[in-house]
């Protein structure tokens, strides 16, 4: 058994941390979010090999494993990075690599790997669960070939993407994945930002024509793998955010004085901090364990649900504790604390929230 990051992963994390410390500190991030600063971060991530990392080697990537994705995503969470590594590469790029290499697909993957093209995964339709059983978007045979009709919500990076990966049901109700250029006729995009500042979009597909070579029929397993990647990467982001909240809140409680002494010396505060630490240790242990399981190809949907549910509930416990212990200042927009809370809440809502995953775990284990 070994749950440490490899030497290569540690080196990559060190250089990514240095870059983000310099370029993505909280104040810089605020300017980036407000559109007052050019990020340039994406091209840095390309240069560091991080954008190509999650893609298979056969597609020009670096064959990134689950733990590679976790190693990077955890640092993204620590810095509240909203660059589109998850929607473009981890989700769309890796899923396209499972398609038959025909038509436009290989070109799209190559361009996603160089960062020149961005992809987005249009899946959510409103249930919030990510479950394929709730899909209603249709892939049907039109007069001049296959077409897609349906509407998708909260598509991460959907407004900036050049290619859209869409989940849909065929006329025989089979789960399919299809990819189309984002500028195809009949696509309507409504851009907005999510709670934590991530650019997202609602996307309507009005009978959009699809290249037959860019369709994967019988995509249940591919969709399951895609959702596992999404949940694992988001969980890693959440754990990264939890570490920052834990450390900054402990520091704050050690220096902030009321009644003539540091508030951390009061047992009510000390014990809440202890509970936050317990929550953090559990969440991080599950992240590393399930990353290792995923590396061996044996992470079940139950394992992934455990991880997603735990970072949801434990993350909320830590983030709400952090706001409370910071007191009034924790309620302000100028302190990072609230931004981490919103990051954690957003993550919880994506691809199945805590309640969904807990119920799903219970359903599976009660009958096993």
């Amino acid at each position: 058994m070994n749950f440490e990051f490899s030497d290569e992963q540690v080196m990559l994390r060190d250089s990514l941390s240095r870059m983000l410390d310099q370029r993505y500190a909280f104040e810089s991030r605020r300017r980036i979010m407000a559109g007052q600063a050019e990020t340039g971060i994406w091209s840095e991530l390309v240069d560091m090999g991080i954008v190509a990392m999650p893609l298979p080697e056969a597609c020009g990537g670096l064959g990134g494993s689950a733990s590679d994705i976790v190693a990077i995503s955890e640092l993204f969470g620590r810095h509240l990075v909203i660059e589109p590594l998850l929607p473009s590469v981890i989700l769309t790029g890796r899923a396209l690599a499972r398609f038959d290499p025909a038509g436009p697909v290989p070109r799209w993957i190559a361009d996603i790997g160089t960062g020149a093209l961005r992809g987005a995964f249009a899946h959510e339709e409103g249930s919030g669960t990510g479950a394929s059983s709730t899909l209603s978007t249709k892939l049907y045979e039109g007069e001049a070939g296959p077409r897609i009709r349906g509407s998708k919500k909260l598509v991460l990076g959907g407004g900036e993407a050049g290619v859209l990966l869409i989940s849909a049901l065929s006329e025989t109700k089979a789960v399919c994945l299809a990819a189309v250029p984002a500028d195809a006729e009949g696509i309507e995009v409504r851009r907005y930002r999510a709670l934590d500042g991530r650019p997202v979009a609602d996307i309507l597909f009005h009978d959009v024509a699809v290249d037959r070579a860019a369709i994967m029929a019988g995509a249940d397993a591919a969709l399951e793998a895609l959702l596992a990647d999404a949940r694992l990467a988001l969980a890693a982001e959440a754990v990264g955010a939890m570490a920052v909240l834990m450390a900054t809140t402990a520091d704050f409680a050690g220096t902030r004085e009321q009644f003539g002494r540091p508030i951390g010396s009061f047992q009510a505060i000390a014990h809440r901090l202890a509970d936050m630490k317990i929550a953090y240790v559990k969440a991080r242990a599950s992240l590393l364990y399930i990353a290792a399981l995923a590396d061996s190809g044996r992470a079940t949907s139950r394992d992934i649900s455990v991880l997603k549910a735990q970072v949801g509930r434990l993350g909320r416990e830590i983030a709400q504790g952090a706001v409370q212990i910071h007191g009034g200042i924790g309620m302000t927009d100028e302190l990072p604390v609230g931004h981490y809370l919103k990051h954690i809440l957003t993550i919880d809502g994506l691809f199945g929230n805590t309640d969904y995953h807990l119920r799903e775990i219970g359903r599976v284990v009660a009958s096993a």
Partner: protein, 403 residues
């Protein structure tokens, strides 16, 4: 990263399974099924101890030179997993996990020679004399006194929560030998090679679960040899801390906890939900079971990371973190057990719980133990350093999480 035990350990697992499948007697198996405490039913568990000793497996955590197995942490985890899967009674901890390893570390050669063989073989059972009526969480406030007199000490005072003292033939204890200076100074660690010294009086205490597991022990001018002192006089606090390290370290709790959850899942398939249908298909139950499963899984992950030597294992707060997690998880499981048992948890069935009583329980075996386990497990957040004390310790080690 790699989640697997060393593959060469599969043969070891088979060897363990073969023995555990065949060696226990019916009484031992019954004791395992009727275990509702950290302290399994005494007589049958000591019988199991002696059978394991005969196999050379009584002390998985002891080094070979003292008659232990010399197993790695992974082997110990595997043994524990297979042991719990079969509902066998866990061996009593005071000798094997507490005073035995302490003597290996700090005992004189004579003390080791005198006491370790009996601990290992199961001939002796040791009770722990630490707490007093006015010294619980604040253990250093203890006042039970020992006065040096020739080659002896004369002990006066009272100990309480001396688990199974009425079954024990040996006792390790903390006594006050000096009242000057800080209260941690002036404490001495003593081994009593008998529990029937003149002037020593043991009174069992009936617990919430109706069972006499705890005792109080009164000392009225009890004369014991000074040869039983571990460490120097007045240095007993550091000896006690060394023992605590053994008590809280090493052993994995997740195999026992996983087994409880398995029992809950099985029982829920036979139980009826309040609004009809099997409880296992009730949505509210499924949600709560899911939360329990997630918590059990995370705790397993923590223990496996520690087992693997991950940096988490070096966190100075890890013993406290593990104690809080395992005790509170046990309590959550105990609550769920009583929920699943429903009204079948309400009959008071002390005789049916006794090993060898031959009294058939009302309801199923799961329901028989649900409420006694729930009641006994209230103690988990109180003993071995209350969870409030543990949280104090955890809050002093927060800097180990670095952003």
């Amino acid at each position: 990263m790699n989640v697997d035990f060393d593959p060469s350990l599969e043969a070891f697992r088979e060897e363990v399974c073969a023995f555990l499948d065949t060696a226990p007697t019916d009484a031992i198996r019954e004791a395992g099924r009727k275990t509702t405490s950290v302290f399994a039913p005494f007589e049958a568990t000591m019988e199991w101890h002696r059978l394991l000793y005969a196999r050379g497996w009584a002390a998985p955590a002891w080094p070979v030179e003292y008659g232990g197995t010399g197993w790695s942490l992974e082997q110990r985890y595997i043994f524990s997993e297979e042991h719990w899967k079969r509902d066998l009674p866990p061996l009593l901890p005071n000798g094997l996990i507490m005073v035995g390893p302490l003597l290996m570390e700090l005992g004189t050669p004579e003390q080791k020679r005198q006491h370790l063989p009996g601990i290992l073989s199961g001939k002796d059972y040791w009770t722990q004399g630490y707490s007093e009526p006015s010294a619980g969480s604040d253990l250093a406030a203890l006042s039970c006194s020992a006065l040096a007199d020739g080659d002896d000490y004369i002990i006066n005072g009272q100990k309480t929560w001396t688990t199974l003292a009425h079954k024990a033939n040996k006792m390790f204890m903390l006594v006050r030998t000096n009242r000057d200076g800080k209260k941690q100074q002036g404490i001495t660690f003593l081994l009593l090679d008998r529990t029937d010294y003149p002037g020593m009086h043991i009174r069992p205490i009936i617990g919430l679960d109706g069972v006499a597991e705890q005792c109080e022990v009164f000392f009225d001018n009890v004369r014991v040899p000074q040869a039983g002192r571990v460490g120097a006089e007045n240095e007993g606090w550091s000896v006690a801390k060394a023992l605590l390290k053994h008590e809280r370290g090493g052993a994995a709790h997740s195999p026992a906890i996983r087994r409880k959850l398995d029992a809950i899942r099985a029982a829920a398939r036979d139980a009826t939900a309040s609004f009809g249908g099997p409880l296992s298909e009730d949505p509210v139950f499924q949600r709560d079971l899911g939360e329990l499963e997630a918590e059990v899984a995370s705790f397993e992950h923590v223990e496996k990371l520690v087992l693997s030597g991950h940096a988490l294992a070096d966190d100075p707060a890890m013993p406290s973190l593990n104690k809080v997690m395992s005790s509170e998880l046990s309590q959550l499981l105990s609550i769920m057990m009583t929920r699943v048992a429903g009204i079948d948890a309400l009959p008071l069935q002390l005789e049916a719980l006794e090993v060898g009583s031959g009294v058939q329980p009302l309801g199923d075996p799961f329901s028989l133990v649900a409420m006694p386990y729930y009641l006994n497990t209230r103690a988990a957040s109180i003993y071995a350093g209350s969870n409030e004390v543990q949280r104090d310790l955890i809050s002093r080690n927060l800097q180990t999480v670095r952003a």
